[in-house]
Every structure is written in C-alpha cells, then in structure tokens.
Symmetry: C2
Subunit: 114 residues, 2 copies
DNA sequence: TCCATAATTCAACGAATATTGAAATGATGA
DNA sequence: TCATCATTTCAATATTCGTTGAATTATGGA
C-alpha cells in the first residue's frame, strides 16, 4: 500500500459517523448492508450517508452493488489488512521478536497477501 | 479503546507529514528520536513539527521526554495495538476462522493485552 | 552573564470538511 | 404511464485544518 492510499483510508475512518458506518460493515461481513438499513441503524440523513459512503469508497474501504432499488455496501477486508500492515511496517526497525506481521479479518474469498 | 479515542488516533495519522513522523518513530523503536533529527529527516519547519507532535500526542500515539535541550519523541506501541484491535473488533460478527485477533509491535516493556 | 542552539507559542491565511435542505435520478409495482 | 420508494446530486454554510512568519521560552557552554 502506498502512503497516499494509507492517508486516504485513515482520513476516511477519522470521522465519527464514517467510523460507525465502517465498523457496522466490518461486523456485517462480506454480504454487506443496504444504505437504508444503515441509515436506520445510525439515524443519519440519506444524503449525509451518501456523502460518507463516497468517501469510504474513494478510500477503497468499501464496495457497492445494487440489489433492486437498494444499494448494498460491504467492507473491503483486503484493504483493511493492507492498512494495518502499512501502519506496522518495519516496526522497531524490523527487529524480530518484538514485531509480528498483522493479519485480521480475511473472510472467504478475500485471502490477503499476509 | 473508546470510539472517540480511535477517531482521534485515526485523525492524527490521516495526514501526510504526521504519518511520516509516526512511521519514522515506529521504525525507530522505543528509544525514539529528537525533534531536530525528525525535522532534518523530513525537512519540516520546527514550528510545523511542533504542531504535528501536539496532535499525535493528544491522540495518545506518542510520548515526549526532554534530553538536554532536545525533545525526544517515541511511538506508543500500546496505543497502536489498541487502535488495530478496535478496527478489527467483532469482525464478520465474530465468526471464527475468518477473523483472528491483531497483535503487532510490542517492544520490550510494552507487552499488550493481546 | 552572554550567546547559540532547540523547540514552542502566537496570530493569520487559504483550503478542506461535515451537515443541511431542496431537487433530481433510478427502480419497482399497480 | 403513474405513483412511490431508495438513494443521489447540488448549492450553501459554519467549522476545522495545515502552513507560514515573527517572537518567545528553555537549556547548555564560553
């Protein structure tokens, strides 16, 4: 992951509502959730929600697909893992023992590099 | 870790210069680096650097100590691990197999919960 | 004490961010 | 086609953010 991508991902997560949205999606798993159900769960105006979805998507953290008249958003676990790896990269100058590679949340088909 | 703390930490990291500073400190290890050496390494004005140090410190991501006339900054690995854990918390609804706990960068005395 | 070095404080500026309200688009079913 | 529901687009606003320059505090050495 490039530094620019990491900054984008971090900035996308660095906001109360977006962090809520993202964590809801992370919990929800690969099947995702509809925009409407998220709006209900978090009590957010639909246009506000769209704004935040766009930011999360531009940061590569979530995906969308249409299902009927609903939009289904889902977390991108591969990007999450890439971000975690980036943050801990070369930790302590790479001195073994203290620093272990990060691996988390790799559901079904999304097997990551680490 | 509370959501507010996570947002603060993410916001602190969601900026090019601060991410550079933080990663430099993460690489440097528990001994940390002086403000001056970071200023030189990243070619940043000292007052700009102070501004960013404050943000990182308020977010709980780094510590400071004085050594002579230099200020030594160091990464707080415990907070980094707390943040990583927070992000992956309840991943996929906690469905086993897919989601493993995060552990990374726990130098010498700073053994974390995980 | 006087000076140089290291870092911080303060004020100010342009740029980016989050939210709101009103209007528009797209998809479904009668 | 018409009405309805789900979501998006657009324009406007107040707030926050990052950087700069000048001045200040703090430490150590001559």
């Amino acid at each position: 992951m490039e530094k620019t991508d990491a900054v984008a991902a971090l900035a996308a997560l660095a906001q109360h509502n977006r962090l809520d949205i993202y964590r809801l999606l992370v919990k929800a798993g690969p099947d995702g959730l509809s925009a409407g159900s998220i709006a209900t769960a978090l009590e957010l105006a639909p246009n506000t929600l769209t704004f935040h979805f766009d930011r999360l998507r531009q940061a590569g953290l979530i995906t969308v697909r249409r299902a009927g008249r609903s939009m289904i958003y889902a977390a991108r676990y591969d990007q999450m893992n890439a971000l975690l790896s980036f943050l801990t990269d070369n930790c302590c100058g790479g001195s073994e023992a203290h620093c272990v590679p990060v691996t988390a949340c790799a559901p079904k088909r999304a097997k990551t590099t680490a």
